[in-house]
């Protein structure tokens, strides 16, 4: 087994996408096979060496940063192993990026169900934390599309697990934040590929937009839905459809009931709003510029055939990195039951306004699987959510601005404090935010999981700085 120990190789992994947590592994191992990983974990158990597993490294709280020990780079295991178009499943190595999986599936006219909109999340990393897409209100989170996994346990056993085989391990590994094993292969549900047609509705009230979003989701009125904002001014409800039939149904039954407006009416409303507030013309200029930059990115000709968007994951992800990415990213979030969601977003929005002049909110529903209730324990899915949970990311648009780490941390804390008060959960509760785990889940549950972790990982070597 090759362990890379030179400064360059170790330095590549010194931080994650958040860019606020730093640590250096003593060595890096590029994952190649489950057997190799099993040997690594056996040796690590024997010698008490921490092993930090990393896929795309798109964590923001240092969850994939190694503070010493070995960093295991899972992207070395990126092959698609088998595909069954009739039974609608694909078997893949878990270090694969969703973008590469999509590419492989497209050669066969297929697509995955849902995946994070950033292209460079890995399948294994996503299954360990959730994975939210703009179709999650209908199809659930990415973790729920896993049918079976090959897992290397912290003691180095290679185990196949699913809802029917080694179900307890499956429950712990899915949404398990990497505590109970390294996912080396995954069997995922897939579907036929379809281009989509998008519609945008503009709102001046977050609460109204959220109410409409939840009403659409509850009625199964669209195939894709979500809210994306620029501050609390440009509030955009996005809906999209895989088929003409679904779109026609939406037009006939739901479109007229939405309280959002079209682009022209929104522009007029904004013009009136800022005409009466000349002291806020800087903000108006920002919104106008942002729209001018952003909209063409969503309408690039090479991704359209007629009015249908192809490869939505690429279109959205390109925009995400170009317009939302920066060298430092803090993206605190709140995940709540449907009934609490509007309150949570409004309170989080007030915190954003207090800390940053420019920010964005991204809200989406997550359909739950009752048969996976055990998977959701101590995860981003709030325990009181039924049928659907809702998540909102609160992201300051930092750009070239410089903020102290204290300010960024205080911002995150204030958002997370809301979660503690209202009984929510978080997508990003590991790493630097793990202090919230006991506050939000309670000691009893955390102690129970800690006992399971100690039993599964006696030397506590696997991803030791993430949760416990």
């Amino acid at each position: 087994m090759e362990v890379l120990e030179d400064t360059g190789a170790r330095g590549i992994f010194a931080t994650d996408a958040g860019g606020t947590a730093y640590g250096m592994p003593h060595g890096v191992v590029i994952a190649r096979t489950a057997v190799q990983i099993a040997h690594l974990l056996q040796a690590a158990q024997a010698h008490g060496v921490p092993v930090t597993v990393r896929g795309g490294g798109l964590t923001t709280e240092g969850e994939s940063v190694a503070y010493g020990g070995v960093l295991l780079d899972m992207t070395g295991m990126s092959r698609v192993l088998a595909l069954d178009k009739d039974a609608l499943w694909v078997r893949t190595e878990a270090g694969i990026f969703w973008a590469h999986l999509a590419e492989a599936l497209r050669r066969h006219g297929m697509d995955y169900l849902s995946a994070p909109l950033n292209l460079t999340s890995s399948v294994g990393g996503t299954l360990g934390v959730g994975g939210i897409d703009v179709n999650s209100a209908r199809l659930g989170c990415s973790a729920d599309q896993a049918l079976a996994l090959q897992v290397v346990t912290p003691t180095g056993e290679i185990v196949e697990c699913s809802d029917s085989e080694n179900a307890e391990l499956f429950q712990r590994v899915i949404l398990g934040y990497g505590q109970f094993g390294v996912i080396t292969e995954a069997t995922l549900r897939i579907r036929p590929y379809t281009p989509l047609r998008m519609h945008y509705f503009y709102y001046s009230s977050l609460r109204v937009a959220i109410e409409d979003l939840q009403r659409l989701d509850a009625s199964d009125a669209s195939d894709y839905s979500g809210i994306l904002t620029i501050m609390d001014k440009a509030i955009n409800l996005l809906v999209a459809f895989d088929s003409d039939e679904r779109e026609a149904q939406f037009d006939a039954r739901y479109r007229a009931t939405l309280r959002g407006s079209g682009e022209a009416a929104f522009a007029l409303r904004m013009a009136l709003h800022y005409a009466l507030r000349p002291w806020r013309w800087g903000e108006a200029l920002y919104l106008w510029r942002r729209k001018r930059q952003l909209f063409p990115e969503f309408r690039r000709k090479e991704f359209f055939r007629g009015d249908r968007m192809h490869d939505r994951s690429v279109v959205f992800s390109r925009a995400v990195w170009r317009f939302w990415g920066s060298r430092q990213m803090v993206i605190p979030d709140l995940a709540t039951a449907a009934a609490k969601f509007a309150d949570a977003v409004e309170r989080g929005n007030a915190v954003c306004r207090k800390y940053f002049p420019r920010y964005t909110l991204y809200c989406v529903g997550i359909k739950l699987r009752e048969d996976h209730r055990a998977h959701y324990e101590m995860s981003c899915i709030p325990p009181d959510a039924t049928i659907r949970a809702y998540g909102c990311e609160f992201e300051p648009l930092i750009g070239e601005a410089v903020y102290s780490r204290d300010r960024l941390q205080s911002f995150k804390n204030e958002i997370y404090d809301i979660g503690v008060e209202i009984g929510a959960s978080y997508y990003r509760f590991g790493g630097m935010m793990k202090g919230y785990i006991r506050r939000v889940f309670g000691d009893a549950l955390v102690e129970r999981h800690l006992a399971m972790k100690r039993a599964a990982d006696p030397a506590m070597i696997l991803n030791r700085d993430v949760i416990f």
């Binding site: 890379l4 030179d6 400064t7 360059g8 190789a9 170790r10 330095g11 590549i12 992994f13 010194a14 931080t15 994650d16 996408a17 860019g19 250096m24 590029i30 795309g56 490294g57 798109l58 780079d73 992207t75 070395g76 295991m77 990126s78 270090g95 990026f97 973008a99 590469h100 999509a102 590419e103 492989a104 497209r106 050669r107 066969h108 950033n118 292209l119 460079t120 000709k301 090479e302 991704f303 055939r305 490869d311 994951s313 690429v314 390109r318 990195w321 170009r322 990415g325 920066s326 060298r327």
Partner: protein, 284 residues
Amino acid sequence: MNHSDCSGCSLCLLVCPAWRETRDVRLTPRGRAKARQHGASAAEIASWLDGCTLCGACEPICPESLPLVDMVMELRRERPGAEIAFRAAPVSLLSTHTVILPGRALGADEARGQRTLGLFGAGHALAEDDGNDLALALEAGRPIPPGRLSAFLEPLRAAKRLIVAEGLLLRALRRWLPKVPAISLGEALSVKPAIREKLRPSDLYVIAARPFHNDHARLVGHYDGLRNASGCEMNLDLQRIAIPAAQARWILEGRQVARIVVEDVSDAAAFSFSAAPVLHLADL
């Protein structure tokens, strides 16, 4: 141009042929940039540079718009390398034609070169000085003697237009002669109706990676139009980035194609394992 500007998004990995081949992040733009950010010297990462094919696929998708090809060439310049045998060419006559620089592979194939020239017709001429030694120097990161450079550029200054097969040379010529329009040979041929009408839906059209990525914002629409009009498949990934011919097996995976049509003659060899005939655009 600075390695510290890399935010570490990893988008470059998705399109990097070296990464697709090895899954070794050290060989990618992100790997090099992050290593430099965290203290590795140019000498320490010198051995990682050989994996880069300078295809430029990483540039159009970099959200920081970093000149990643130039950054590799600069790192290559910092390390010792083999000497290039530069051509001792006398200054040629000024050309007022559209000048074609056919590149090494097409230049060595006289019959195909003449056929290509024939497709362009009057007002076009093959360059007397092909600049292949300069292309080699660019690729290897070796300095180009000023005298050799001016001897190469002088006859091209009055050219109406340049048509350049070699992507690195095209990139450099755009910088050296900003007033002379320069396009790739692939683009110049693919706009010709005589060629477009011969493309079939069952063809796989292989875009030459370097020139395409060097002018991606403009050319992505051109090739999308060609794909729409002809119905042929292309070596594009989902991000509309050209997968270099070196990844021929991946390009062909899951595809049934009747012919493989390459823009760059030197790409043909990569598809030699395929049962489908491989044609250059000028062979259509």
